[in-house]
Amino acid sequence: MGFVYALVAAGLSLIFGLMELVNFAHGEFLMIAMYVAFFGWSLGGIDPVLGAPLGAVALAALGWATYHGVIRHILSGPMLAQIFATFGLAVFLRNMAHFVWGVDFRTVQDPWLSGRVSLGGVFVGLPQISASVAAFGAFLALYLFLSRTETGLALTATAQDRQAASLMGIDTERMFALGWAIGGACVGVAGALVAMFFYIYPDVGGTFALLAYVTVALGGFGNVPGTLAAGVVVGLVEALAGLLIPPAFKYSVVFLLYLAVVLWRPQGLFGRF
């Protein structure tokens, strides 16, 4: 699960690093990605594994549209406006999902990858394993894109210093839109992967989004490799806490961990501030 959390959080982290803005609708993006994967499966007969690119494209479009429709107007506004614009978007998307798709739980039946495998005596569901492998792959692709391609470097430069980047001839406006599209694509892939083994319903984004915020804050906002490490930490802590204490408390432990870390390092484990 850690890699999936990391992938969900990566989009969030990227957007924050780029423009110092938290997308509180991130969980809802994930929810929509899961619905995209679900309808790809139920209407088009596309297995969620193959639906991942579909989710990526759909969510990239959503991210791009969000940037141009909402975010562009509030970039220079007060932080309160930024928080509540994305919160408004979250409330809007979530309840649109209620309105359009209803509150029923849906699941993808019989995905290609099912059953479980034994890893050194520990049984793990095959969908979970393949999801984490795929998430890791997507994460690696994101990292290589950011550090090896010219566009990726331009994006990183914009994240580091908006003005200097625009002086170097980088179209920061385009980079922002691109950042939102990539952030959307990350969560689109993650949504399709999660859809293989998780119930799909309008409020599903909540839990994942909370964990994603913790992951991002833990890894240091805007630090993509840090996000991966923090995602793994969150995934491990969640699993271990579920073993050692009543499972109902496992998310509390994750939040406590976050509070403990920020007490000691307010910028997160790997943050640069």
């Binding site: 938290v22 409330v91 909370l210």
Partner: protein, 327 residues
């Protein structure tokens, strides 16, 4: 002129239950007062001091649970449970404030969400306090002010909610003019600059959250006595924390009347759509909410009250120009 208008509004609000005897209009007004009071309490911390908390349901829930448990265990009147809940909320807010006030901006907001989730989980699993099943407030008949229960008419609830709102507004009004209010606003604008001129930033933030938490807890006790049933899902959820802040943001953050205005807009909208579309499971009212909040944040970050102010300023300028040209 302005004073006369204010007097008319006050009289109209006081006379409302005499004119409208049916429960529904009274219920809508009570909800406006309650959410107005909660948003005003939130505004003390977020609007004036600039600390955007998304965990205020914690204090609301503490207010509701403290008074209800005191009734169950000690048969104590809610009138004493109310200040007890507020005191406990202040205590908890100081403990929470210690770690979270080290954080700024988005980090702070996320940490308060995390605290809210922890507290909700604790109450869901705390069997002595009712656990996930919640608590019923023991029903006592006949109606009495001492027990703060009224089954026959909502009129008394109406005046109590109004009193809560008046209290919250009074505190805010006093704050706005006091030295402390200026200190809060200095922290909101620039915490480092405030510290450099000798403001004890951490202490002031703790004062702000204490005031805010106490007022929120009073609302929690009132809610418990009004609906007579509480559970972690209804008094501790993140959605309540967000709703409280949305009300304030919609109306106008950092202003005295903004949160009340926000409640006066959102509550009838939500109650109205609930009645019209209720039971269909379609959350259309929340769709409208979301769209409204987005529009406000994008086009008018200072809320509806900012819109009103701008309108008034434009008109004044227009009349000023007209006078100048006629002279």
């Amino acid at each position: 002129m302005k004073r006369a208008l204010a007097a008319i509004v006050v009289l109209a609000v006081l006379a409302f239950p005499l004119v409208f005897a049916r429960p529904f209009p009274r219920h809508v007004m009570i909800m406006i007062f309650l959410y107005g009071a909660l948003a005003t309490a939130w505004n003390v911390l977020a609007g004036y001091c600039g600390q955007i908390s998304l965990g205020h349901a914690v204090y609301f829930g503490i207010g509701a649970y403290t008074s209800t448990l005191l009734i169950r265990e000690a048969a104590l009147t809610p009138w004493l449970g109310m200040p007890a809940g507020a005191a406990l909320a202040v205590l908890v807010s100081q403990v929470i404030g210690y770690p979270v006030f080290r954080l700024r901006g988005h980090y702070f907001a996320i940490a308060t969400i995390g605290v809210g989730e922890i507290v909700q989980t604790l109450f869901i699993n705390w069997d002595w306090a009712g656990g996930a099943r919640g608590l019923f407030v023991p029903i006592k008949r006949p109606d009495s002010l001492l027990n703060l229960q009224f089954h026959e008419s909502k009129a008394v609830y109406y005046y109590i909610a109004l009193g809560l709102l008046a209290l919250a507004l009074g505190v805010t009004h006093w704050l706005e003019r006091s030295r402390r209010g200026y200190v809060f606003r200095a922290i909101r604008e620039d915490q480092d600059a405030a510290a450099s001129v000798g403001v004890h930033v951490a202490r002031e933030k703790h004062v702000a959250i204490a005031v805010s938490a106490a007022l929120t807890a009073l609302g929690g006790t009132f809610w418990a006595q009004y609906v007579l049933f509480i559970d972690p899902e209804s008094v501790f959820p993140l959605s309540l924390s967000i709703l409280i802040s949305l009300v304030a943001v919609l109306g106008g953050v950092g202003s005295l009347w903004g949160p009340v205005l926000g409640a006066a807009i959102l509550v009838p909208l939500s109650e109205g759509t609930r009645v019209l579309l209720g039971g269909t499971g379609k959350a259309l009212d929340l769709v409208i909410y979301g769209a409204l909040i987005m529009l406000i944040a994008v086009f008018q970050p200072s809320g509806v009250i900012g819109l009103a102010r701008r309108f008034r300023r434009d008109r004044r300028q227009a009349t000023g120009a007209a006078q100048a040209s006629s002279a």
